[in-house]
């Protein structure tokens, strides 16, 4: 009997040797005369267990991990293909506490299925949302998204339905759907995991968006650092087109939706939507003045929906299960779920999808298992390089856009980077300014010049024998100018990590180095 074995093709799993493990499994099984069907899947999100090998036994998937190529022969000998006992045997993967405590709506299929197998996608509820959408007038599709309470998952948390309605209400003519897949924030990888692990979900979400507002062309603007996602998306788009889920007659509806992946070129600023549009048009990615909004004058001057990967990938489940189903998760004005990424110095790093309302402490300790180094956690940065540093005393904050704003922090794209007590927060503040200087598009002065001057001030603060008090005052002034005078979030939010580090960890700013 053929045994089905699952190994990830996710970039993080490959970075830890999944390709070599898969090859070793194939040859060890051959030697043993055992027939196996090797299915390459996305990642379950338990990165510390990668390469994870799952074996299907009596309809259940038993996990072993981490399995290196060198360890494969021994595991096969021990009876891995029958799900036998072994120190690396984890048990039924769905029942592991890390998995069982999650609420996976957007990531429901990631890690379960072959990402480019359309039949597997369909068998797991795929394209249900689009089928329902095709039976509705555009305005009602938009209404569903509005009613779900979905807010932009890229970081700005702007209500997705309002963006869609604005585009929907523009006069007919060429409109576009653009997916912002320029996931540049450190500590975030949910976009990548979704695109590599369930690309059809993003394709379906974009198709629904196009049908809803009358846009016939979509672009996925993907960062150059994600070659694996590029491969997965292009494979999936080709299959969807061949099978009539994309193209001139989407599922026989007579409606057109075309989709193309465009590669970025290593500019963090392209995560800002107007600079992304400039880049798609083939220009320097300088931020545009607003108004006009992209929803009115976006790509090539036409009405454009521009949404993050996770926002668009959350649309299929909203349409398939109804707005109320999605809205019932969450707290306050933060509805639904958020795919959270645990990164940095954390024992159990990876992806956790939970309804809003979970606390930072639960995420860091119950899911994350504390620091990887075994030392106490001292600070976490949530929301990427423009997110605030949060001290241990605030770990009980609930994941909620408004609760985070109230403590001067932001949820952003849901990336959480953990640091143990060896971190030097003055260096992290300096790095935030240095990063801003490297990535500034140069259009506005507070960001372009302020970031460079900020690095210089930090260098003085960190040195002995300087006028530290005066320099700290200068740093605050500079941050104030950047925050209120910059054209976009890069210059405008770089002060968050800097000032939060200073506020919560002042002792690090008075040390001589």
């Amino acid at each position: 009997m053929t045994v089905r074995v699952y190994v990830s093709r996710d970039a993080s799993a490959l970075a830890l040797g999944a390709e070599e493990t898969a090859a070793a499994l194939a040859s060890a099984a051959r030697l043993k005369g055992q027939d196996i069907e090797l299915v390459r899947v996305g990642s379950r999100g338990m990165v510390w267990l990668e390469p994870l090998v799952e074996v299907e036994v009596a309809g259940r998937r038993i996990g072993y991990g981490p399995v290196t190529a060198e360890g494969v022969a021994g595991l096969i000998e021990a009876g891995l293909l029958a799900g036998a006992a072994h120190p690396l045997r984890l048990g039924v993967v769905d029942e592991l506490p890390f998995m069982a405590r999650q609420e996976r709506l957007t990531f429901a299929r990631v890690g379960l299925i072959d990402p480019v197998d359309l039949d597997a996608y369909l068998a797991h509820g795929g394209y249900e949302g689009l089928r329902r959408a095709l039976a509705l007038p555009g305005a009602q599709i938009v209404q569903q998204v509005t009613d779900s309470g979905l807010r932009g998952r890229g970081g700005a948390a702007f209500p997705t339905g309002i963006k869609w309605k604005t585009v929907h209400d523009q006069p007919a003519g060429q409109k576009y759907v653009v997916c912002n897949a320029d996931e540049g924030d450190s500590g975030t990888f949910s976009d990548r995991m979704l695109m590599e692990g369930d690309p059809f979900c993003l394709i379906e979400g974009m198709t629904i968006a196009g049908i809803a507002v009358g846009a016939t062309q979509g672009y996925i603007y993907l960062r150059a650092e994600y070659p694996h996602a590029q491969v997965a998306l292009n494979e999936a788009i080709a299959v969807a087109r061949r099978r009539g889920h994309l193209g001139r007659d989407v599922l026989g509806s007579g409606k057109t939706f075309e989709l193309e992946v465009r590669m970025g070129a290593g500019a963090y600023i392209c995560g800002e939507e107007t600079s992304l549009l400039e880049s798609l048009e083939g220009k320097r990615a300088e931020v545009r003045f607003r108004p006009p909004l992209p929803a009115i004058k976006g790509l090539f001057g036409r009405p454009t929906i521009i949404n993050n990967v996770i926002s668009l990938a959350s649309v299929p489940v909203i349409l398939a299960r109804g707005a109320a189903f999605y809205r019932d998760y969450g707290m306050g004005r933060s509805r639904g779920t958020l795919p959270i990424q645990l990164a940095g110095n954390i024992r159990h790093g990876g992806l956790v999808e939970k309804a809003f309302g979970v606390t930072l402490r639960e995420l860091l300790y119950d899911f994350g298992g504390g620091s990887a180094s075994g030392r106490p956690l001292r600070a976490v940065q949530v929301g990427g390089p423009l997110g605030a540093y949060i001290p241990e005393s605030q770990f009980d904050v609930q994941l909620d856009y408004e609760a985070f704003t109230a403590i001067g922090a932001l949820v952003g794209h849901g990336g959480i980077v953990a640091f143990d007590d060896t971190v030097d927060m003055a260096r992290m503040a300096r790095y935030a300014l240095e990063f801003c200087a490297v990535e500034s598009c140069g259009k506005c002065t507070p960001c372009r010049i302020g970031s460079t001057r900020g690095v210089e001030v930090m260098d003085r603060i960190m040195r002995a024998g300087t006028e530290r008090a005066a320099d700290l005052k200068l740093l605050e002034d500079l941050c104030d100018t950047m925050q209120y005078g910059s054209l976009c979030g890069l210059g405008g939010m770089t002060p968050f990590p800097v000032m939060s580090a200073l506020k919560h960890f002042p002792e690090d700013f008075s040390k001589n180095r």
Binding site: L16, M263, Q341, G415
Partner: protein, 159 residues
């Protein structure tokens, strides 16, 4: 490959023509050229400008804006090291210092033997398994200085 001759120019023209009908064609063209030559040769700029009806300054402005596009030929392999926060939290500075010392260059430099060009990356999306590195298009996790030595040895042996 590095020598830019009539054949090289013909290749550039072919790439430009292949994208001429695409809206916003400049980035796809630059990607195509860099994939072919490893960088964007100076000689390609006027051909792209003519093909897209842009000024040379505009084309140069775009090339120089994006970190990914290089204007000089790189070494045989490009080593990118992530220096973002999540990798800093697990000690990427030690890997960075080791790479600089091993290769004898700073960021954007190419080792004297021409084998590796060192580049900084600001997140490779592998933040739960850092420090992260990428050699050409292959991603690696938990790259300690010792692991980096091993990788450099393997890649240096490749042709």
């Amino acid at each position: 490959m590095a020598d830019f001759d009539a054949q090289g120019l013909a290749t550039v023209d072919r790439i430009v023509a292949g994208h001429a009908d695409q809206p916003g064609a400049l980035l796809p063209i630059l990607h195509g050229i860099q994939q072919e030559f490893g960088y964007i040769p100076r000689e390609a700029v006027p051909r792209i400008a003519t093909g897209l009806n842009l000024s040379r300054a505009e084309v140069h402005g775009v090339i120089s804006f994006y970190h990914y596009f290089r204007q000089h030929a790189p070494g045989r392999h490009v080593l990118q090291l992530c220096r973002a926060e999540a990798c800093q939290a697990v000690g990427c500075e030690a890997t960075e210092a080791h790479a600089r010392q091993r290769l004898g260059v700073d960021y954007h430099g190419t080792s004297a033997d021409g084998k590796f060009t060192l580049e900084a990356a600001y997140c490779l999306g592998n933040c739960a398994a850092g420090p992260s590195a990428m050699i050409d298009n292959k991603l690696y996790g938990r790259v300690t200085p010792e692991r980096l030595d091993e990788l450099l040895r393997q890649w240096a042996a490749l042709q």
